[in-house]
Symmetry: C2
Subunit: 252 residues, 2 copies
């Protein structure tokens, strides 16, 4: 089972009721569980620590993040990153200097998105840099409970201005789901995804060939999301606890 | 003849050689000349003053700007503006308070584009506001001679995040070209447009039915622009002086 983090397990600083217990029940039933998050405001150790604070023990390899996948991409392509990311994520990219042209790397930079940094990235693209999107989510549920613009909007801005098409690293890129599948040693049809984003979590997982994808009515979910994107969710359930019930009742 | 301003008549603070003389020759030949600019960093009186400083006398009605057209749109629609525009342009919209839902109005805000203002605009859109784009240009030639991101990129970001499609006020909206035609009392086939933007000036004018559209190799022009958008320019010429020669040699 693949689980999204923000909006599925927790909302801001608050655990969504029943989530930690649901993960415990899935694991007790012998199911492999991995965490696939497009969150790019925190480095992986901070996410592992945050989950531990909720009583959810997660090994480093069980958590798949776009930053780690992007670093692998940059190494393989021999491209130095030009970072448009959250300040918290910058240390992950330290010491990445290669000979090739740079690649503009865009994550959810939050308040760090401003005209000066976006325009500097745009000029890199006009000079031949590649564009790498850690995520292309439209929005996330912010700490004040309202939706806020996510990285995808700024990727769209840079694509529009420069004409350069982004390489997407996080969900819904099939390679991103596959990284979690490989770590579990499972085929895609054996795996279900649970997320609050009908587009990148749910439609993305089904397009990547996963056996099922459940949309939860927590996090950024808004009524009508289930019919907004293709393919539609396998099922829509109230929360992660209900998703665990759904899966465990269908085992075998 | 319709003329773009920035990149055709002047570049930053500098008159493009031969431009003022070309306008004089067109007027001396009895041709009506109007100025259609997507520039949204300066209100109309400032543009008229800037042209006067270059020795180009322009009457207020001869200059068509997106801000004036947007104000007419807001009055007709009964929508109060939520402004994402350059601070210089804000006074134009003062006292525009209507009963209807707000409309997010996006211009080239320059350094005023930041996460806080864009996210506030995004939340208005999520609450049912309309989206009005003063312009959707990809880039402009900045004062340092390099290309910079224009309003269109930020319109694309808001459209992507919210799913709301923008109403475009400036070029290439046919209504914008038509405002200049009406002021001249000309039919579209009698009129030629001159611009440095192959997309909004040139392809836009031809789509609006104008008789000809000339692309100049000044301003933001880059080699290859003439084949980048459909329809292709009627002709590609070095600058406004050459555009005037082209037109005057074909009269009658």
């Amino acid at each position: 089972m693949l689980l999204d983090l923000a909006g599925v397990i927790y909302d801001g600083d608050t655990l969504i009721p029943g989530s930690a217990d649901a993960i415990g029940r899935l694991r007790a039933a012998g199911l492999a569980v991995r965490f696939v998050s497009n969150t790019t405001r925190s480095p992986r150790p901070a996410l592992v620590k945050q989950l531990a604070g909720f009583g959810i023990a997660v090994a480093d390899h069980e958590l798949v993040t776009p930053a780690a996948a992007a670093i692998a991409w940059l190494r393989q392509a021999g491209r130095s990153p030009f970072l448009v990311v959250h300040p918290n994520l910058r240390p992950d990219f330290e010491g990445m200097e290669f000979d090739g042209k740079p690649a503009v790397v865009v994550g959810d930079a939050g308040e760090a998105f401003d005209y000066a940094v976006l325009n500097a990235a745009f000029r890199q693209l006009m000079d031949g840099a590649e564009l790498v999107a850690l995520a292309v989510n439209r929005m996330f549920k912010d700490r004040d409970g309202l939706p806020s613009m996510d990285a995808g909007a700024f990727v769209a801005a840079l694509e529009f201005a420069s004409g350069v098409k982004a390489t997407v690293i996080g969900k819904p890129a099939p390679a991103f789901f596959n990284a979690a599948l490989e770590d579990m040693g499972c085929g895609p049809h054996e795996v279900a995804m649970v997320g609050d984003d009908a587009e990148s979590d749910v439609a993305g997982a089904l397009k990547a060939g996963l056996g099922a994808a459940l949309l939860v009515r927590t996090g950024k979910y808004r009524p009508g999301d289930e019919t907004r994107f293709e393919p539609a969710p396998t099922a829509v359930v109230d929360d992660l606890a209900a998703a665990a019930d759904w899966l465990l009742s269908r085992r075998g």
